[in-house]
Every structure is written in structure tokens, then in C-alpha cells.
């Protein structure tokens, strides 16, 4: 009973937040709505007894991905007025991209199937363990591919964004420690009246 109520609450907030993402004028507000949508989706996962996915959503999506989005929004110096002006010209393209994404979702959902091993054991094995048992045996290949994808992301990010400043003064700890008193300090005997 309470679970039903909480489900409808979370579901309603998720839909409202998702609408907020695409309708709010300010991109920062969009990202904040997105974080809210992630959070309520995590709540829905908990209701489905998928605690690991819920934790993942909170840690990875809210903690990392949303922050990344926020950085991108802050970094791009977007002129809101010029953005708003081009809506009519960009509408066909936007609709096209939206239709493609919708078709992809429909395609994935039509082919969805629950693994038998998961289905039969779902009641008595904790879901994190169940994910582990399937992910690292049956889906071993996609899992190892994921590491390569992450590697590509890592290298891509460094290649695209790393700029070394030439003029910045850096510490060079070994040489700083290796300095001796003799090379660092010079004692000078100055005669009275000759100091200037």
C-alpha cells in the first residue's frame, strides 16, 4: 500500500522532472531537473528491489555524470537569446533526432528478455550477487569491451582537453630537496660604509 503510494509519487516526480529538463529555459535548471529525475528513478529501482542499480544511479549518474553535464553547461558560453531565435529552423532536425532515439528505444524494448538464470533465482539471491554472476560469465565479452571503452574515454579526454601551461612555475621536488646549504646561501663580508 505504502509502496504503491511511493511508486506513484516517485513516478510522477520523475515525469515532471523530465519535462522540466526539456522545457526549462536555463540549462543549469535543466541539469538540476535531470539530477532530480535520476534521484527519483533510483527510488523506483529500490521499489523494484534492484538496490545495486539504485546505488549506481546515485553514485555514478548523480555524483559524476550530472556534475559533468553541469561543467559542460558552465563551460560552453551559450548565448540564450540566439538559441531561442533559431527554434523554427532547428525544429525539423530536432524532431528527426528525437524520432531516431525513440525508434532505438522501441527497438531495444521489443527485444528485451530476462536471463533465465536471473529469473529463477531472483527471489532468493541478492541482486548484486546475481548481477555479478551473470555479468562476469555470460556477458564477459561486453564487460571486457567496457574497459576498452573507458580507456578510449580516458585518452580522448586527455587528448582533447589537456593544455600544458609553459609559463607556470612548477615544483621540482628532487632538485629542491637536493639543494645544499653551500649552493643556496652565500655569505658576503661587507666593509662598513660599502654596503650600498
Amino acid at each position: 500500500m505504502v509502496a504503491d503510494l511511493v511508486f506513484y509519487l516517485f513516478a510522477a516526480v520523475t515525469v515532471a522532472a523530465a519535462l522540466g529538463v526539456i522545457t526549462s529555459r536555463n540549462q543549469v535548471h535543466s541539469v538540476l531537473f535531470l539530477i532530480l529525475a535520476f534521484f527519483t528513478t533510483a527510488g523506483l529501482f529500490v521499489l523494484l528491489k534492484a538496490e545495486f542499480l539504485a546505488a549506481l544511479l546515485v553514485i555514478v549518474y548523480m555524483g559524476a555524470v550530472a556534475v559533468l553535464f553541469l561543467f559542460v553547461v558552465m563551460m560552453l558560453d551559450v548565448d540564450f537569446e540566439s538559441l531561442r531565435a533559431g527554434v523554427k529552423e532547428h525544429l525539423p532536425m530536432g524532431l528527426f533526432v528525437g524520432a531516431v532515439i525513440l525508434a532505438e528505444f522501441a527497438f531495444i524494448l521489443s527485444g528485451v528478455h530476462v536471463d533465465e538464470a536471473v529469473q529463477t533465482n531472483a527471489a532468493n539471491i541478492p541482486n548484486t550477487q546475481l548481477i555479478g554472476q551473470v555479468l562476469y560469465t555470460k556477458y564477459l565479452f561486453p564487460f571486457e569491451i567496457a574497459s576498452l571503452v573507458l580507456l578510449v574515454a580516458l585518452i580522448g579526454a586527455v587528448v582533447l582537453t589537456l593544455r600544458k601551461r609553459k609559463d607556470a612555475k612548477r615544483q621540482h621536488i628532487p632538485s629542491q630537496i637536493a639543494r645544499t646549504r653551500d649552493e643556496a646561501v652565500e655569505l658576503v663580508k661587507v666593509a662598513p660604509g660599502q654596503g650600498a
Binding site: F52, A157, T161
Partner: protein, 118 residues
């Protein structure tokens, strides 16, 4: 199982309720006499010089994306650790492979100096 989450639900309701009550109360009870000076952006006492939204340095983005990658790597470790006994030696080897690939990335990032600010 869901009963275990009831305290969290109560906590959530309290937190949201408290925030809403405080906002609403201050909205209803607080005096509001806005004038031009009061509602402009505050910039250390002088009139605002420029827009507040200035673009971030791209280096923040690099730090964030490195964090995301290693965050996901850590996330993959959790189900592996929980199902470790069932997976046996094969599971151990494949996780080592997974970590090795990312170790290459880590070495690259370190060598490139992307972990340092300047």
C-alpha cells in the same frame, strides 16, 4: 525487504517537508520591499561589471571525466566482489584483465601529467 527502507522514506519526507516549510514560512512572513539596488546582483559593493556566468576552465572538465571513468571502474568491482566465490578463478583473471586495461589508461594519464593542475 522494502520495510528496511522505511526509515529512509521517513527521513526523505522529513527533509523535504522541513525545506518546504522553511521556504514557505519565509515567503509568507518575510517583509519584502524590493528596490533597484536590492535586486541587482551583488558584486562586492560596486555595480556589476559583467555577466556573472563566465565560462569554466576546461581543466575542471578533465578532472570530472577522469573521475567518471574511475568511478565506473569501481562500480564494476562491487558485483564482482559480491559474486567472487561463485565466479572462481576465471572471474579473478577477467577482472585482472579489466583492471590492466584501465591501468594502461591510468599510466597514460599520469605520464601525460593530466593529474597535475599545471
Amino acid at each position: 525487504m522494502l520495510e528496511n527502507y522505511f526509515p529512509i522514506l521517513v527521513f526523505l519526507a522529513m527533509a523535504i517537508g522541513m525545506a518546504v516549510v522553511m521556504q514557505v514560512l519565509s515567503f509568507l512572513l518575510g517583509p519584502r520591499k524590493p528596490d533597484a539596488k536590492k535586486v541587482t546582483q551583488y558584486e562586492c559593493g560596486f555595480s556589476p561589471l559583467s555577466a556573472v556566468r563566465i565560462p569554466f576552465d576546461v581543466r575542471f572538465y578533465l578532472i570530472a571525466i577522469l573521475f567518471v571513468v574511475f568511478d565506473i571502474e569501481a562500480a564494476f568491482l562491487f558485483p564482482w566482489a559480491v559474486a567472487f566465490k561463485q565466479l572462481g578463478m576465471i572471474g579473478f583473471v577477467e577482472m585482472i584483465l579489466f583492471l590492466l586495461v584501465l591501468l594502461v589508461g591510468y599510466a597514460y594519464v599520469w605520464k601525460k601529467g593530466a593529474l597535475e593542475w599545471d
